[in-house]
């Protein structure tokens, strides 16, 4: 799960990682009087969205007066935002954070990531913050510092010191910095995170080390031991995705018009690729699971058809332990229950495929059958274009 900036900062505060004073978070429907604007300002108004590059897209604004801060926050709420990370799609700003503004003397980059290749957490850092770490990794790989972390011991003192020297941390901030890095690793391990990122980590005009931003991504697989996190809303998932998740179906909404139902994540991905190759676009990724029972297929149809864009449905199931005749009976029963009005293309393969195909053919339901995934994709694309 991805945490919003202010949620991440609440975590940082608990671990003693310095952040700026926050003056409230507005959600859609809140009045701007909910903000508690203490102090003299200036304030920063920040859109709480799960995409980088929001500054350039108008999602970060500075206000000199309290009235201006309220005004900017009110306007930002509900705003549609496109950044370089949203693939051309507009995100709606549903929450806005207001916090102290702060003069910046220096920016750094630091994160703790799960290093898949070395099977351990790693710190990635650079003395040059503020810019995209990916760009930096590409253009100046020598400017990136990497430290492998032991998942049981955490960051060792000498590793923290090495990092501080490598990043040329001023002597005045040295201990603050080594503590901060150790605490970042602790957050990572305690929360079962995949990513804890501060970009930028700043040294302020008055010489303090401060986490200006906070990005935390936690491991969904570990939610069973983080009940508090599991109870929080998933900001990334759409309504349909949440509904699907609740009934045990893995669904991700996409932009196309061909609904897909597949068993297995890899085959589901390959199905989307094949649809694209046939000249169409899938409306969703959907893994119905290994079981593919009548109940599960019915639910999957219902989820797919909630998306009004869907003009055809492609079912691609490899009958393994669950035999094709059983799956075919399930598809027939489910499609009778759900009343599918768009063309239905089914490709079955595996055990008892002949029996399965016969069941589909004599069901009386209008189903177009295909022998291979490629043929099914072509038929689905043609059907959606009609």
């Amino acid at each position: 799960m991805k945490l919003l900036e202010y949620e991440g900062k609440e975590v940082f505060e608990r671990y003693g990682i310095p952040v700026l004073r926050r003056h409230g978070v507005l959600k859609i429907g809140d009045g701007t009087d909910k903000l508690d604007l203490q102090g003299q300002g200036p304030w920063v108004v920040k859109a709480q969205v799960l995409a980088g590059g929001r500054g350039k897209a108008g999602g970060v604004k500075v206000a000199k007066t309290a009235a201006e801060a309220r005004d900017l926050a009110g306007k930002m709420l509900g705003m549609k935002m496109v950044t370089h990370q949203t693939q051309g799609k507009a995100l709606t700003v549903e929450e806005v954070l207001v916090e102290d503004a702060c003069p910046i003397a220096r920016e750094l980059y630091i994160s703790v990531v799960m290093d898949r290749k070395n099977s351990c957490p790693s710190i990635i850092a650079s003395a040059e913050g503020g810019m995209s770490i990916e760009e930096l990794a590409h253009s100046h790989p020598e400017k990136i510092v990497k430290v492998a972390v032991d998942a049981d011991a955490g960051l060792l003192d000498f590793q923290a010191r090495q990092l501080a020297f490598d990043l040329r941390i001023p002597q005045k901030n040295f201990c603050e910095f080594t503590t901060l890095t150790r605490q970042m690793v602790k957050v990572f391990l305690d929360l079962d995170a995949n990513l804890v990122e501060i970009n930028p980590l700043i040294i302020s005009g008055d010489g303090k080390l401060i986490a200006l931003d906070a990005k935390i991504v936690t491991d969904d697989n570990a939610l069973f031991r983080h009940k508090d996190q599991a109870a929080k809303p998933d900001h990334e998932a759409s309504e349909i995705e949440k509904e699907a998740k609740a009934i045990g179906i893995n669904y991700i909404g996409l932009d196309g018009d061909i609904g897909c139902m597949v068993n297995g994540a890899g085959l589901a991905m390959a199905t989307l690729d094949t649809v694209k190759m046939a000249g169409g676009d899938a409306a969703n990724f959907l893994d119905v699971g290994g079981g593919a029972t009548v109940d599960q297929i019915t639910k999957a149809f219902q989820i797919i058809l909630k998306d009004a864009k869907v003009k055809a449905v492609l079912v691609n199931i490899f009958g393994g332990i669950m035999k094709c005749d059983n799956i075919a009976a399930g598809v027939v029963e489910a499609s009778k229950k759900v009343h599918i009005k768009v063309p239905l293309i089914v490709r079955l393969e595996g055990t008892n495929v002949k029996e399965g195909k016969a069941i589909l053919a004599r069901s009386g339901i209008k189903i177009e059958q295909a022998d291979s995934l490629w043929e099914a994709a072509q038929k689905a694309v043609a059907a959606a274009k009609k």
Binding site: M114, N221, R225, N263, A268, M269, F285, G350
Partner: protein, 304 residues
């Protein structure tokens, strides 16, 4: 010959008496695998599916001489079961369980590395995988046995049903498989592509290899380096997720494009450069292997 499993494999099943464990253990037995018993704490001394149940892996190994483990234990306890199997002396551990926290696997890998550094040889396959099968000899996993046929094509894959698809195409072409290994879809896992390719390269029965990758991580790029440097046998690849949106986990915990890392394009390019055959259309992988094997003389003798 084959890799990882053969007729002599003595298999124990962890989570033996649970719903998943029972169902799939029975399927393995029906296929002809030598399942010698199972482990369920608290049920030691009883019998299940006609096999003895033990409280611990240690008891099971002592009584049966088991040398392979198949794990169906639920996610919160699965990492512990892997380590229990390793400690009991099992050499090949296959973990089917989906949903193990990544940090648990980080700790498992560290412990296994320490065990192997002491001179033992423990191989972990998975987690979140369909398992391993050597057709006609031993099935340790959840794959449908009947789609396989004994033969000379090795298959290694990060995905379950995608593996079945590839295997089925190979079988439909009249060819067969030496062994089929599902390494699983998690970001931190036991055996990786390179480990499997090494075994296939050294296995005299294997004449060609199918490798099914997907977006996320760099296992395919690492495999490409190995293929270029060491493989004398032809490798046929498919990489799933060409059209997947970046930043989203496509079902598998490990199938995610993060920034510029783990993209489809980078994997395909690396594999093509390494001399592997990459098919864009999944429906063509069986035919590609058949065509590739027909024209070619038998693979050179395996390098050590």
């Amino acid at each position: 010959m084959s890799i990882l499993l053969n007729k002599k494999t003595k298999l124990i099943v962890h989570g033996f008496t649970g719903a998943q464990g029972s169902f799939h253990a029975q399927q393995c037995i029906d296929y002809g695998s030598n399942v010698v018993g199972g482990v369920t704490p608290g049920k030691g001394g009883t019998e299940h599916l006609g096999r003895p149940v033990f409280n611990t892996a240690k008891d099971a190994v002592k009584a049966t001489g088991a040398n392979a483990s198949l794990i169906f234990v639920p996610p919160p306890y699965a990492a512990d079961s892997i380590l229990e199997a390793a400690d009991a002396g099992v050499a090949v551990i296959i973990c089917i369980t989906e949903g193990i926290p990544v940090l648990d696997m980080v700790r498992v890998k560290k412990r296994l590395a320490a065990i192997n550094a002491c001179g033992r040889q423990v191989t972990l396959v998975g987690p979140n995988c369909p398992g391993v099968i050597t057709p006609g000899e031993c099935k340790a996993g959840i794959m449908p046995g009947y789609i396989h046929k004994k033969g000379s094509v090795g298959v290694v894959s990060r995905s379950g049903t995608l593996t079945y698809e590839a295997v089925w195409q190979v079988t439909s072409q009249g060819l067969g498989q030496s062994s089929v290994v599902g390494i699983g879809g998690d970001p931190v896992q036991g055996m990786n592509f390179v480990d499997a390719l090494q075994l296939f390269q050294a296995d005299p029965q294997t004449e060609a290899v199918i490798m099914i990758g997907e977006i996320g991580g760099s296992a395919e790029e690492d495999a490409a380096k190995y293929i270029k440097k060491e493989m004398t046998k032809p490798v046929f690849c498919f990489v799933a997720g060409k059209t997947a949106p970046p930043g989203r986990r496509m079902g598998h915990a490990g199938a995610i494009v993060e920034g510029n890392a783990g993209t489809h394009a980078s994997k395909v390019e690396a594999l093509k450069k390494a001399g592997a055959t990459v098919v864009d259309n999944l429906s063509e992988i069986g035919a590609a292997v058949a065509a590739g094997m027909k024209g070619k003389p038998k693979a050179k003798a395996a390098r050590k």
